[in-house]
Structure formats: C-alpha cells, structure tokens
C-alpha cells in the first residue's frame, strides 16, 4: 500500500464501531468527530460507512463530490482499496471510505468485509466503523469485527432501551463473543444532552442512563447548533474549535486513548459576570 506512505509497524490496529440500535441519535456525526479527533492526535485513522443504501458519512465529512469507488466495489473486487479511500483535505492522517448508495445491506458479505478490514489494518491505527441503525444484517456486520464499541445514546427512554439491546447483541453476536475471546469493550457516549432539560425533568440524567446501561461513560456531548452547521458544511464538528460539542468530542477521544478528562457539560456552566449584569439568558 505504498500510496499511503510507509507501513505502520508493529502497533495493533483497533477497530471501533459506533452503534446505537436507535436511529438518528448521532452515530454518523460522532463517527466523523471521533475519527477527526483521533487524526488530530496524529493517529492514522479511516472512517468507514456501513450504511449501505443510505450513505451519509461522505456528506458529513464533506467529500461527497470526490466519491468514485466505494466499500461494496472493493468487497466485490471491482476496485482496489486505494482507489476507493478518500484523503481528508484538512488532515493528512484522516481517510474516508464511503459506501454505495445504489446497493443495499445484502451487499455486505462478511468474508469480504473481513478481507478489507485486514488490509486496512496494515495501514491505519484506528478503523472507525459507522454503523447503520437497527439490529439486522447491516448493524451486525458493522459490529462483528469490532475491538471496541461506542454506544451512542440520547438521554431518552427509547434510545436507552435500544442501546441496551445492541449491547446485548455485541456480547453475543460479535466475532469476539463467538470465538470466546476477550469481549468487545463497550463505552457509553451520551449525545444531544441538555442540562437545562435534565433539571426540568424532561430528560434522563447521566446517572440515570449509566445505571440502566451499566457500561463506562466515555463522554457527554451537549446539544449544539454547531452540529447542524457541521453537517451542512461537511466539516466534522471536532474541527470546530468554538463548538462545545466539538470540544466535548475531543475530550471523549482523549478519554478513549487513556487520558483523564473531567466531564464538562454536566455541571452548570459558570455564567460570566457580563451576562449576569446584562441579564442575558
């Protein structure tokens, strides 16, 4: 794979899946942000879209106008990996692997996916898999080869229920589970969190969700307008230094690689004296 620079050496590549069960909770946004965060730390990272037929990752990453070949083409042997991978314009460590829009999830053949992941492992430190919603073939294939899983959950009862379901599926249907290896290590990422709504009792608190799901908390991403802006401009929100959500994602990535970070958006933000003086809400 000369076109991607030198081979990485002996470090073991890690496959991370972003999954949730529930749709629309922020998997693709988070996959993009986390991949960007890892790249910003100097890790060679590729983010793969597993949502065949409903592809969004290319839009969120801003590379939809550069897609020639896709994941399904490579699985079927119609194209080589280096013809399909798209290098991010903002960071040399970041690559995007889009999927097909015209096919559907039946096109994801497990042995083909395995072959592609093995090839990617030679060149990348992290392989981030953006899973489709649901618990059927597409979602199962996305989580099957994972070493780590980030369970994207909104602080809301249906999302928590579905996240619980997908955690159960990870524990029984992943490759690690089937071969009795060390289990996939699951982390909770709470997205679209609003402290105000929690205080009003409209939203589940972090503690509520942690208690029900019983997996370690990776991060809390606050509800933020910057996320919509990020999608619409094709810029992963982690590249937006002004955005609270972006900063929260960078914190989450830091924790993922082992650093300690305090949870920022769970305590009330200290209001600046000027805001208090001028009575701004």
């Amino acid at each position: 794979m000369g076109s991607h620079g030198e081979k990485r050496g002996n470090l073991l590549a890690k496959v991370i899946v972003l999954t949730s069960g529930k749709g629309g909770v922020g998997k693709t946004t988070s996959a993009a942000a986390i991949a960007a965060g890892l790249a910003l730390r100097g890790k060679r990272t590729v983010v793969i879209d597993f949502d065949v037929g409903l592809r969004n990752l290319d839009l969120v990453m801003g590379c939809e106008r550069r897609v020639v070949f896709d994941f399904i083409n490579v699985i079927n042997g119609d194209a080589k990996l280096n013809q399909a991978l798209i290098k991010d314009k903002r960071n040399d460590n970041l690559y995007i692997f889009p999927t097909s829009q015209t096919r559907d999830k039946d096109a994801l053949k497990r042995d083909g996916v395995e072959r592609v992941l093995e090839e990617l492992k030679e060149d990348f430190d992290y392989i981030v898999c953006d899973s489709p919603a649901g618990i059927e073939h597409g979602a199962i294939t996305a989580l099957y080869f994972a070493d780590s899983a980030i369970i994207v959950t909104n602080p809301e009862v249906s999302s928590v229920r579905d996240s619980d379901r997908i955690i159960g599926i990870l524990a029984s249907k992943s490759r690690r589970a089937e071969h009795n290896l060390e289990p996939v290590d699951a982390h909770l990422l709470l997205t679209r969190y609003s402290l105000e709504r929690v205080k009003k009792g409209e939203m589940l608190s972090v503690e509520d969700v942690k208690e029900i799901l019983s997996i370690p908390l990776l991060g809390v991403i606050p509800e933020s307008e910057s996320v919509l802006r990020a999608s619409n401009t094709g810029t992963p929100v982690a590249f937006d230094e002004e955005s609270p959500a972006g900063r929260a994602y960078l914190d989450a990535v830091a924790r993922f690689v082992g650093e300690q970070r305090e949870m920022r958006f769970v305590q009330p933000e200290r209001r600046s004296i000027f805001r208090a003086l001028f009575g701004r809400a």
């Binding site: 042995d111 395995e114 229920r161 579905d162 619980d164 379901r165 955690i167 159960g168 599926i169 524990a171 029984s172 089937e178 071969h179 029900i212 019983s214």
Partner: protein, 233 residues
C-alpha cells in the same frame, strides 16, 4: 474464516425403555407427568433404550414410537443399547445412535410402577444456574429444572425464567417467571423490584398491578392461595 463447523457439547437427555411402550399403562402415566410439568417436557429430547427389547426390530416400530412420544410433546431423537440390526432400522426412521450408559441401577419391570424418565430432576437437586453479567433487553434466560441466580441488573425487555426460584441481587426491570414448569412453591427474590411482569407457575402481575409502595424495594414474591403476594425482604 468461520470458526469450527462442528463443536462438541454435552446434553442431558431423557431415556425411555422400549419395553415400556408396549405397556398399556405407560401413556396414561406419561400424560400425567407431562401435565404436571408441561414446560419441562415440551419438545424435550428422548432416547429409546433397547436393552432387553429384542422385539423392536422394524423401522415402522420406531416410527410408531416417535409418534407415541410426539403425542405427549416429546421428541424421540435416538436409540441406545441397540444391536446392529436395530441401529439400521432406527436409522431408517431417522434416529441417531447414542453410546450406552455406564452401569445402571436395576430398574422396575414394565408392569410395575409408573414410567420413570431417567432424567428426573427436582428443582433443588440440580445445580442452580448463575448469571453474573447484566441481562440485556431482548435476552431470554431459562434455567431448566433448577433455580436461577442473577447478580447483575435485568433490563427492561429482558426475560428471565426458571423452573425453580429466581434470585436477582440487583435491579429487576424486565420479566421474571419462576416455577415455569408449574411449581407453585417457587419464589422470586430481588434487591430492587422494578419488574415489567412477575409470574409464579403461570399466575402473573404486570408492573401496573404492583403496589407503588413496593416498587424499588427488596422483596420476596410467593404464591399464597393462588395469588401472588409481595413482601419486603
């Protein structure tokens, strides 16, 4: 690519002596047993022991044996202690060959007593099943013929069942069905009652029917005079 195609496993299977099938009282007794513990016997696998049953030699006889047992929801899957000829006939009827058991205690002759399935387990006798990981939504756990002990939370949308007692040393938020085979003396114990449904021997209460003052508490649930009663532990 895929792991091993064939893996070894150990199963406990009921054994019925072939001679019993000719006994007129057999089906009556069997029906009684099945009725007392229907879940236990539903689709349970059975092996036919052909020791001292030289008259069993034809494939149709094995087919008939299958049908008799199927009438009582049992599934005849194989034979044991068969002669080569009997093995052939059994195979024609789709039955597998099982290794003979080790030395067995003397058994009552067909004309005496009720049929005695080899694998007779009172819930207390078999080892309790222990689950230490959270039981996630959509998961079903069934402790057949014994008690179930869970030391992690049971999620909403999960279902735990046991023929014996159920103990949950954590929050019980899903469905718990004790005495699933009909044992009215089975009980449910939990550290935090938040269940969607609780049941003993088929009688049940849904979450709505559980008194508010008992929710979230450590309780013991038993069947008293055919009604589910919930007591603080």
């Amino acid at each position: 690519m895929a792991g091993n195609l064939v893996q070894g496993a150990v199963f406990t299977v009921m054994v019925v002596r072939a001679g019993m099938l000719h006994d007129p009282g057999f089906e009556f007794e069997l029906a009684g047993q099945v009725q007392r513990s229907p879940r236990f016997f539903l689709n349970a696998p059975v092996v036919l022991d052909l020791k001292d049953a030289e008259d069993f030699t034809q494939a149709p006889e094995f087919g008939e044996a299958k049908r008799i047992l199927r009438r009582h929801t049992l599934s005849l899957i194989g034979v044991q202690n068969a002669t080569p000829a009997q093995l052939d006939a059994a195979a024609t009827a789709g039955l597998a060959s099982f290794a003979p058991n080790a030395t067995q205690p003397a058994r009552p002759r067909p004309t005496e007593a009720a049929p005695a399935p080899h694998h007779q387990t009172a819930p207390a006798a078999a080892k309790a099943r222990l689950v230490t990981q959270p039981v996630r939504s959509g998961t079903q756990v069934y402790a057949r013929g014994t008690d179930l002990i869970v030391t992690a939370p049971v999620s909403p949308g999960a279902e735990i069942m046991a023929d014996g007692n159920i103990h949950v040393y954590a929050a019980l938020r899903g469905r718990a069905l004790a005495g699933a085979g009909g044992d009215v003396e089975a009980r449910i114990f939990c550290s935090r009652l938040e269940a969607e449904l609780i049941s003993i021997a088929g009688r049940y209460l849904v979450s709505d029917q559980i008194p508010l003052e008992q929710r979230g508490l450590a309780v013991q649930i038993a069947l008293v005079d055919d009604r589910l009663t919930i007591e603080r532990n």
